[in-house]
Amino acid sequence: MQSSPSDVLIIGSGAVGAAVAFFCAKAGLSVRVVDKGRPGGGTSSRCEGNLLVSDKEHGPELDLANYSLGLWRGELAEFAHLWEFENKGGIIVASQESSMASLQRALQVQRQHGIEVEEIDVPGLKELEPNVTDQAVGAAFYPDDCQVMPMLLTAHLLRMAREAGAELLFDTEVTGMVRTGDQIQGVRTSQGTYYAQTVINAAGPWGAEVAELAGVNVPVGPRRGYVLVTEPLPPMVFRKVYAAEYIDNVGSSEEGLQASPVVEGTQAGSILIGSSRERVGFDHTLNPEALQMIARNAIALFPFLQETRILRHYFGFRPYSPDHVPVIGPDPRVPGLWHACGHEGAGIGLSVGTGKLIAQALTGEQTDIELGPFSPARFDTAAVPEGQEVP
């Protein structure tokens, strides 16, 4: 049995693949999505749903974040309730004079790049977050920080893509590329071969593995993070609250374990506490130290949490890109192959911007923001040598 070729074949049904599918289908392209697992069963169901501008440094990632924010609040506003979109604002709390000083320096830079942020004093902080630690010496408030429920986001984007004509194939693993000469013509999967004009690698932390199937190096790999989920409580935490050290962690490339708390309430009543960062490959063994570090930091930020019970902890693998810039756009090394991966700790927030830009580029429109800085052209041309470990 031979299925007809599609305009676009998307590998991966996480938030990014789903958003690409949705925008492409909406733009009139014929779309097929294949995933080796279940819908959104990768990182997008093992993460949190913060849409942050507060943790971004200026550069392409911030541009994409701002662009995505415009979509969340504009074009996609009518669906906001489906994925529990909330514009709740974020607060960075400094508990030491020294971290307050670095926070103030960061604010200055962020303001210059158009991020909206107010410095707030302790009484102002207590008004926004009455349960925060008494150790706080100051804070910054980011009115633009938002949140969504990632699994609902992914599920509804996939549904809407399907309703716009996309075909979704699950339990279908891509095992190879079909090429004619250099040109990619489709993919070989565990369920047969599918042809397409354009194949898009939206395989998240498996992005390097998929690129390797096409013989190119895209150094995106897993960076593990744990999240703790508390018992449901009446509202105790009102914004997304995190500690000043968090910003440093996001930007670092440290292999070792790092953790700083991001504490947020959810509509269902549980509080999510994340998250750690460690580069340990796709390691599924428990790291009690990560849990301990997150727990300690969270208690320091919200002392009431001490008596709160954790119902569950889980971990996911962020699609880590060494320069912290996602990989988006056509691969000049392999015609027919595009990438949409490597969004690290921000792929939920950046998914919609990524999807829309790809749809624009594929339909020959001028993209709303430049794709250049995200181009895979920045990686070396060599394929990954056999046996080399992917970062």
């Binding site: 018992e231 449901p232 009543g269 008596e307 019970r309």
Partner: protein, 91 residues
């Protein structure tokens, strides 16, 4: 211990003094001494809940004991002077 030594225990339930037998669980005390089948309210629909699994797995029976919230009433044994707080509801 000889039989009869600690036959009864007095606890407070939402401030009321209640006398029960030693060895009772908090759940059994609420059910037998107070004739209550539910002592917790669900957070969305506000429905009453009490014992369900009876062995500490379902967490339907949560109460506050001596100030500590969210303990499983089916597992806590009463003790002299224990203070039990429930989520009282109509009916």
């Amino acid at each position: 211990m000889t039989a009869g030594e600690f036959r009864t225990v007095t606890v407070t339930v939402d401030g009321r003094r209640v006398t029960t037998e030693a060895g009772r669980t908090v759940a059994a005390t609420l059910m037998l001494a107070e004739d209550r089948l539910h002592w917790r309210e669900t957070r969305f629909a506000g429905k009453g809940r009490g014992l369900f699994c009876g062995i500490g797995v379902c967490f339907d029976c949560l109460v506050t004991v001596d100030g500590q919230p969210s303990l499983r009433a089916c597992l806590v044994q009463v003790a002299e002077g224990m203070s039990i707080e429930t989520e009282p509801m109509d009916g």
